[in-house]
Amino acid sequence: MADFKMDADHSGLALERGVQGVLGAGLDRSEGALKVSGVARYGYEHPLAGEVAYGYLITAPAAKGRITGFDTDTARGLPGVLDVIVDDPRIPRQAAAFVPAHAGNDEIDHWDQIVGVAVATSFEAARDAAKSVTMTIAPEQGHFDTMAGVGDASGPPKDSRLQDMAKGDIDAAMADAAVTIDQVYTTPNQVHAAMEPHASVAVWEGDTLTLHSSLQILHAAKGILAKSVGIEADKVRILSPYIGGGFGGKMLGPEAVLAAIAAQKVGRPVKIAMARSQLFHNVYRRTDTHQRIRLAADKDGKLTALAHDSVVSQGPDGGFMEPVALGSIALYDAPVRHFTHKIVTLDMVQAGAVRAPGEAVGMLALETAIDELAEALGRDPIDFRKLNEPPVDPMTGAPFSTRALVECLDKGAERFGWANRASQPGQVRDGEWLIGMGMAAAVRINLLVDSQARVTLSPDGRARIETDMTDIGTGTYTILGQIAAESLGLPMDCVDVILGDTDLPPGAGSGGSFGAASAGSSVALACEDIVATLAERMQADPKDMTLKDGHAIAGNRRVPLSELVGSEPLAALGKISQGSNAKTFSQAAHGAQFAEVAVNSVTGEVRVRRMLGVFEAGRILNAKLARSQAIGGMIWGIGYALMEEAVLDQRHGAFVNHDLGEYHIPSHADVPPLDVLFVEHIDRHANPIGVKGLGELSISGAGAAVTNAIYNACGVRVRDFPLTLDKILGGLPDM
């Protein structure tokens, strides 16, 4: 087994010597045609033999209280109804996530809480039955206002990645500074709402459970599901070959647990897809945030202090804390530093990981504040950032693994035409529209997690990769194939990639932008073993052997791989584990975001005209897929800046805009031409293949570039996100 712990840099992979020429190439995603033609089967669509039942979740119309009784008689009497389950002690009360959720439906602790499931022979019958169930509720007054509860707030949980930290005296630094900024920024609740809803099909065969679902990290989900259902983990198999978006929200959904329970009770497979409105209240949300940022600088523009203090919310027993300051900790040099978080417990669905937890919302505030400080100092915001570039991690003193923020800023400024930006707001007009340019830095911590993959080279010369790693729409199938093809010298169509099945070696799963680095390294390591065996059979040193187009070339010999393999397949398990490099080096990916916007001087409507993202995320495995990830993140940034908000009715604790008609994310017409440039530096300290996480990096700072551009366009600075037109209107010139 090729087992490598990241306690030191890898000495050099076969991948690095590869001449196949597929690594990094902008190849189409290998499963793309299957998806657009409908051949790829998502979990809910998995074909099943025999009779299938459909479940529809029953939810409670209250945010807090006790349920004293159910009336299921009407529902049970409807045609096609097989069962109405409201009395199982395993019914999850909260968004099942990293740990088994609290079970039991006697208590309601958030709006629209799932309290049972109706099971019928058709989806329509199940839905009608679920809506026919009534319940008696003894309501209690809930609490839904984060800032009203700040007096009772707690600090970061003990196991939180991010603990409160302080260096120097922030109050003294603020008092002594030539220029300061002390502002509060707020961001709203946001929801997951991936295109493919949470959906599962549960099939029992004897005492073993197979779940076809849409999940990001399968081996973890398997353990949680087993505990939630009350069976041993080795009796559970989960398959998620295709996933229509994860974004941190698909660790394990409540529908999976209920499908398993229902299938057990009705004695046939049960399919459950959560309705869109149910997703809004039963999948963990991103908390609202209240962020105070204090910045101090001397007259020459050097930061002397940086403080980022946040209040976030959580549901009952949530555990997770939105790590708001994550991006702020090591981004800029300043001797005095201060980062705190307070958590307020509300009677709402739990808060959890949503698209770049921490940086997505923290960088909206920090990078707006930096823009404000640069303006107060009379400095160009790019020059200000370069002036405050830290030589080492300013919190720990550790060297950076790689860091190219300044290069991203410079290349971006040139490509975007930053020199043409008017330094004062409100200077550029195009008819009714006020035009402005803004920028922000991007940062995302880099992670590596344990991951395994098996690579098998067959006698026919084909390679097969097997791992329970998932492809959540990011292109994992393709990049793992590219890594193996490059390492083994095979054309892409000679590599098969099998993912998303817990019967396969446990991979990293998808999340935290660690998938490509972790799963990719495990595949590269497995290939190391195979290359070593091939070299042995060629009687050559691996470094002196070339692998290309299915042949090994060494010592004036060119031998087909099929011949070298012989009659028995060559198989190897690659395993990467996190090691001390995670502490020895400060690891993050960086970038620079640029936006040009138009603000309507009559209405305050904002239209983004163009954006550029320049990113350094280590080795780029596939230029096309990397760009797709980057533009996806930048589009999220447009949404965070301008429109995305789960609007909370403070009386009920309900999100009122619980559908995609009213929960606004950018439509096609809101997305201008997006330009992406990669600055490629292979990060050998981060992982064997030298890549860094990219998906979440491209969200970071994108929204702040937009809002800083709005300020440059019209001189209106809004600190409460999203910047809907009603918040801009009052600052516009009179008609």
Partner: protein
């Protein structure tokens, strides 16, 4: 969705005789049925009736079949040439897919997009008369500032109907007793008062068969829609304007508004403030004053009052060629 009976009508007469709820494109009704906000026992499918034609009349106006899809209506050369306000309003609404399905008659009858109307766990007088209005005192950023009552502050969501209101369209119907009616669009919708569940003057079983547009109006036409994103969002405020200027004076003006009230809104006082005046910001401000005299904000929708004022003034500048 509750179980329902389904039949397909072979003629308008058969449709009204069938005595069920009509369904054409279904772009609104099916959503409401899935949520059990509408629970018809019987659906009469009118989508295959011969009502999908746009015809010129001898008087120079257009007769639009009730089943003409929104996309077709927007793209009709006669509409683009004579009634650009209507074409633009249609294209400002919904999405391409929805416009392909949505019918002319159905668009007029869209239900409100008030959050609480859609959430059966909350009170709503329009959905369940007598239960109360959750929007008053709740989240009402998208709701009405004109024509509201203490029972309902919902808005009518249509863009098309706003343009038709400015164009003085006539709605032609067939009643269940076989009689035909012609209803001026200004007489078609009802204010909520204490019966917000009743939104228009149609009788039970009455079918919209056509919409008539008069001769193309004189002057400049405009549809301006202000919304929270560039596409696929309902109007916060919209203006359908038709204004002609002769000899330096405003000779005619028709102005209708979306996003402000329970119906496509039109107020003769707005037009009276303009007609006979030289186009100027002062005249435009007077028109805005007339429109917003009785406007009432409910908290988070207060911004609609200044937004409407600004949007109207800018629209009038554009219609009359007056620069700021």
């Amino acid at each position: 969705m509750k179980t329902f009976a389904y039949s397909r009508a072979e003629s308008p007469e058969a449709a009204v005789a069938a005595g069920g709820r009509f369904i054409a494109g279904g772009t609104n009704l099916l959503d409401l049925m899935k949520l059990q906000i509408e629970t018809p026992e019987s659906l009469v499918d009118i989508s295959r009736l011969d009502l999908a034609k746009i015809e010129e009349r001898e008087d120079g106006g257009l007769t639009i079949g009730a089943l003409v899809p929104n996309s077709d209506l927007a793209a009709d050369p006669r509409v683009i040439a004579g009634y650009p306000v209507l074409s633009r309003a249609l294209l400002a609404g919904a999405s391409g897919q929805l416009r392909n399905k949505a019918s002319t008659g159905g668009n007029l009858l869209q239900r409100t997009r008030c959050y609480y109307f859609y959430d059966k766990a909350t009170a709503c007088n329009k959905r369940e008369p007598g239960t109360g209005c959750s929007a008053i005192g709740g989240v009402n950023r998208i709701l009405a500032i004109l024509g509201t009552s203490e029972h309902c502050i919902a808005t009518h969501p249509s863009d098309m109907a706003v343009a038709m209101r400015a164009l003085d369209a006539t709605i032609v119907t067939l009643k269940s007793d076989g009689d035909r009616r012609r209803i001026a669009i200004g007489e078609f919708y009802r204010l909520p008062g204490d019966t917000p569940q009743i939104e228009n003057v149609l009788e039970a079983g009455e079918l919209i068969t056509h919409v008539e547009l008069p001769t193309p109006p004189k002057g400049e036409q405009l549809y301006r829609k202000v919304r929270d994103r560039a596409s696929y969002a309902f109007a916060l405020v919209s203006v359908a304007g038709i204004v002609s200027v002769e000899d330096g004076k405003i000779a005619s003006a028709a102005l209708a508004f979306g996003g402000l009230g329970p119906m496509p809104w039109r107020d003769p006082a707005v037009e009276a403030a303009l007609i006979g005046q030289a186009p100027s910001d002062a005249a435009f401000a007077a028109a805005a004053d007339a429109l917003l005299k009785d406007a009432k904000g409910y908290g988070t929708n207060d911004f609609k009052i200044p937004l409407t004022r600004r949007t109207l003034i800018a629209s009038l500048r554009e219609l009359t060629g007056v620069s700021a």
